[in-house]
């Protein structure tokens, strides 16, 4: 017996829907094995990790808080990946966006009125977009590999944040702690639905839905998909690959920057030396698990957010290292990519005795 992949005549629509589910199931199975290996009860582990966060109000709210930036960044990355632009520097765009957004409340703390917050969000989006345009411009101008440059800028952005909160932007009344001043009320993102979530959650959902419509129904969405699947065909239609590279990076950067500003304004209320538990990288997994579709990404964002909360849960309840969360995230991406094969290929068992030459040309 041998296992062989046979190309399907066309994409399997069933598998396109099923493959993320299969991937999540396989990840849960691996997580159970991981719990067993580390000497814990796998069933309790799975329950604490995947189910318990959904049963209590505080943990549900925490899950929404974590899902919001993941969804927003993931949506932007989907635009990049659909058009075959490999932006993996969203973490840096998130940070620089947060820096631009925080400039107003930190440098002009007395500027408090109704437009403070909208201006911050605008600056955040601009900052993220500018940071993302660096690798995009280098790609279109000099043919530089955008994967490497966008990633290198993540480290630079992290060091820039570190410099600012320890140096010029440190809170003058903060006893030398490496943190900025705390934002005023006018610069703080309000909570909605009776304090259940920050305003960032509804903003994110609206952006995701708008993006879903743009991708599915407009010419721009068509351009993005065509250029990703067949740049040659796209260029005959008059689409410019370079312009699209700049466009997709700018969108991804703007959304990541917006997420960064909403995180510091809504959740942290100040700048700290580290403002993200790797949202920019986890969002890559979110984008793929959501099959690069904004609506899928909303669901995928919740699944990955669960892994943050679940990771903390199993750590406090069972003493499992909370690194297990990032292991499970990594495994999930592996399974998602592996299961995507099922969309294009069928798995067939081949008996050894049948000569392969005869079976393939039926």
């Amino acid at each position: 017996m041998r296992i062989e992949l046979v190309k399907r005549k066309e994409h399997s629509r069933t598998m396109a829907l099923l493959s993320p589910l299969i991937a999540v199931a396989l990840t849960a199975l691996s997580a159970a094995i991981l719990f067993s290996i580390t000497g814990h009860n796998p069933l309790i582990g799975l329950y604490k990790f995947f189910i318990e966060p959904l049963t209590q109000q505080w943990s549900l709210e925490a899950t929404i808080d974590k899902a919001t930036p993941l969804i927003l960044i993931g949506c932007g990355l989907a635009v990049c990946y659909l058009s075959n632009n490999w932006n993996i520097g969203a973490e840096g765009q998130f940070v620089v966006g947060a820096l631009f957004g925080s400039a107003l409340p930190i440098l002009f703390p007395s500027f408090e009125n109704v437009i403070t917050l909208p201006l911050m969000l605008l600056f955040g989006a601009i900052g993220g977009a500018l940071w993302a345009l660096i690798p995009a411009l280098l790609k279109t101008r000099f043919n530089t590999n955008e994967i490497l440059t966008s990633l290198m800028l993540v480290y630079v952005a992290g060091l820039l944040l570190d410099y600012l909160v320890r140096g010029p932007w440190r809170d003058p009344d903060g006893y030398n702690f490496p943190e900025s001043r705390i934002f005023s009320d006018a610069a703080t993102l309000p909570e909605v639905f009776g304090g259940a979530m920050s305003l960032s959650a509804p903003i994110t959902i609206i952006i995701a839905i708008v993006l879903a419509i743009v991708l599915a129904k407009t010419l721009k969405g068509f351009e993005i998909r065509v250029m990703g699947e067949s740049p040659r065909a796209g260029s005959f239609a008059g689409f410019s690959a370079k312009r699209l590279t700049l466009f997709s990076f700018a969108i991804a950067g703007a959304l990541a920057g917006l997420a960064g500003t909403m995180e510091v304004s809504g959740a942290l209320n100040q700048l700290l030396p580290s403002i993200s538990p790797g949202y920019g990288f986890t969002a890559i997994i979110v984008a793929f698990l959501g099959r690069l579709n904004p609506i899928g990404i909303i669901i995928a964002g919740f699944v990955l957010a669960l892994s943050y909360i679940g990771g903390e849960g199993v750590q406090s309840a069972m003493g499992v290292s909370n690194e297990i969360a990032s292991v499970i995230q990594g495994l999930l991406l592996f399974f998602v990519l592996a299961c995507d094969t099922l969309i294009l290929y069928r798995i067939r068992m081949v008996s050894r005795r049948v000569p392969t030459g005869e079976t393939s040309h039926v």
């Binding site: 101008r141 000099f142 590999n145 490497l148 630079v156 690194e323 297990i324 990519l337």
Partner: protein, 304 residues
Amino acid sequence: MFEAVLLTVITAATPLLIAAVGELVVERSGVLNLGVEGMMIMGAVIGFAVANQTGSGSLGVVAAVVAGMAMSALFAFLVLFLVANQVATGLALTILGIGLSGMIGEAFIGVPGLDLPQLYIPVLSEIPFIGPVFFQQDALVYLSFALVAVVAYCLFRTRLGLVLRAVGDNHGSAHALGYSVLKVRFMAILFGGACAGLAGAYLSLAYTPQWVENMTAGRGWIALALVVFSSWLPLRVVVGAYLFGAVSVLNLHAQALEFDIPSQLLSSLPYLATIGVLVLISANRRLTLVNTPACLGKPFVPDR
């Protein structure tokens, strides 16, 4: 002073050199494995853990190589057998490696490591200046140069290298000639994994003999950039690795000289230099087009 600086450059350059040479072979076979960082950090943690448990640095190095190969085998299964997207799978490998290493390494944080034995070459090592710099290094430094020489020779002077380059440049023709594209690529990926694991072991056993979370700090990515910098030629990787080694130790020495520059700016120099170098190399279309493996990143599905 100069001697001390040179010694730190060598230790900073060696892991970059080892990892980059491995990835160069992978890319020459037409596969882009972006998981170098993940394989490297797994090598670092497994190497440290095994050396710590057994008390033998050499066993640690061997275990690190095996760990790197195991990670790369996972990658190979996905991209070769399941025809998964190479970029995304490489990213997955990095994310998984960082997570796994953090989990395994938790027990070893703050545990003192053991030094790799230095290999002093008799007589030669006693020459002033030249001796300490060239003939008093740990075994892995010598190994890194041997590795470059062997890879350079095999790639361009042997049949094996010819087949490997053929597979990377035109997998269709190589297949038609009867070479197993997938088998060649699988071997190349394993070699790359072994090198990345070795580079990781160098970090946790020789560079800073201890385990620190995320201690690779982007070196796997810089190694990837070095392959582009070298335009896929092994000897140029040496130049690149030592250039980057020099840039990355600038931080330490500049602080000792008390320049009035924020330390964060100095720390970001290796990353900025990577971007600068990539721009310079990529802007030169002729240089990159000649040597870039034509099938780099393209999946191969044999029609049966």
